[in-house]
Symmetry: C2
Subunit: 146 residues, 2 copies
């Protein structure tokens, strides 16, 4: 699977950690940055970049976006039309985001979620199928919102 | 403060519970529905309605949006231009969403967060000021994203 990853400085270390796992699991990874965690950067730039690249690469692509709390980068990613970015704290949230919302971007907060919990959430996010049915109507409505 | 509240059926009971508290705390509450938790409705309709009403009522207005996980309704609210909707699990997330993101809508998942944790998150969300400074530049960037 194509996975687009991105973070600001506060999410850099978790993004790098999860990127290593994604390679290990055999995915193709596109990293939109930030490529260095030492300088302060603006999360809207990276949330938007993840979202736009996911749309550009097509329907089978997923995204991973990390900042300190996950909140700012999830707001930014969701401003991109067609993006359904789910901020989660664990694999339960990740599972529901796939089953009910067909989420295409997973958002995490490096300051709030530890690396092992984040790994489980990412694994669940990648492995859980969308349930469709009544949820499909709602996802269509999401994609029509402005 | 004007507070716009909304939920789907899965967030109805937590929305009603928190609405009672908002009245007790002296706020003006606008409830965009759902007004009955027995029928299945679509969260995009209510997330969008909360966001649009917050924008309509002006800068000092805040929103509260609840669904089962909080994920779907936070995606929907964030599709509205000018809305910064923060999905949180506790008062730490609520505090950071105000300090760093100037969040104007708080999102909660009734199936994931218990009522006492939700109460604390809501109180923190309403009482915590935005820090401004470098965060103001990022919030301006968020508001320019499409």
């Amino acid at each position: 699977m194509n996975i687009v990853v991105g973070s600001d400085h506060a999410g850099f270390h978790l993004k790098e950690h999860l990127k290593t796992l994604l390679y290990k699991w055999g995915h193709d990874v596109v990293d939109v940055g930030v490529h260095d965690g030492t300088a302060s950067v603006d999360y809207p730039d990276y949330g938007s970049a993840v979202g736009k690249k996911v749309i550009e690469l097509g329907a089978e692509t997923r995204g991973l976006a990390v900042c300190g709390s996950g909140i700012g980068i999830s707001i930014a990613a969701n401003k991109v039309s067609g993006i359904r970015a789910a901020l989660v704290n664990d694999s339960t949230g990740a599972r529901l985001s796939r089953q009910h919302n067909d989420a295409n971007v997973l958002c995490l907060g490096e300051r709030l979620v530890g690396p092992t919990v984040a790994e489980d959430a990412l694994k669940t996010f990648l492995e859980t199928p969308f349930e469709g049915g009544r949820h499909a109507r709602r996802v269509e409505k999401l994609d029509q919102l402005k």
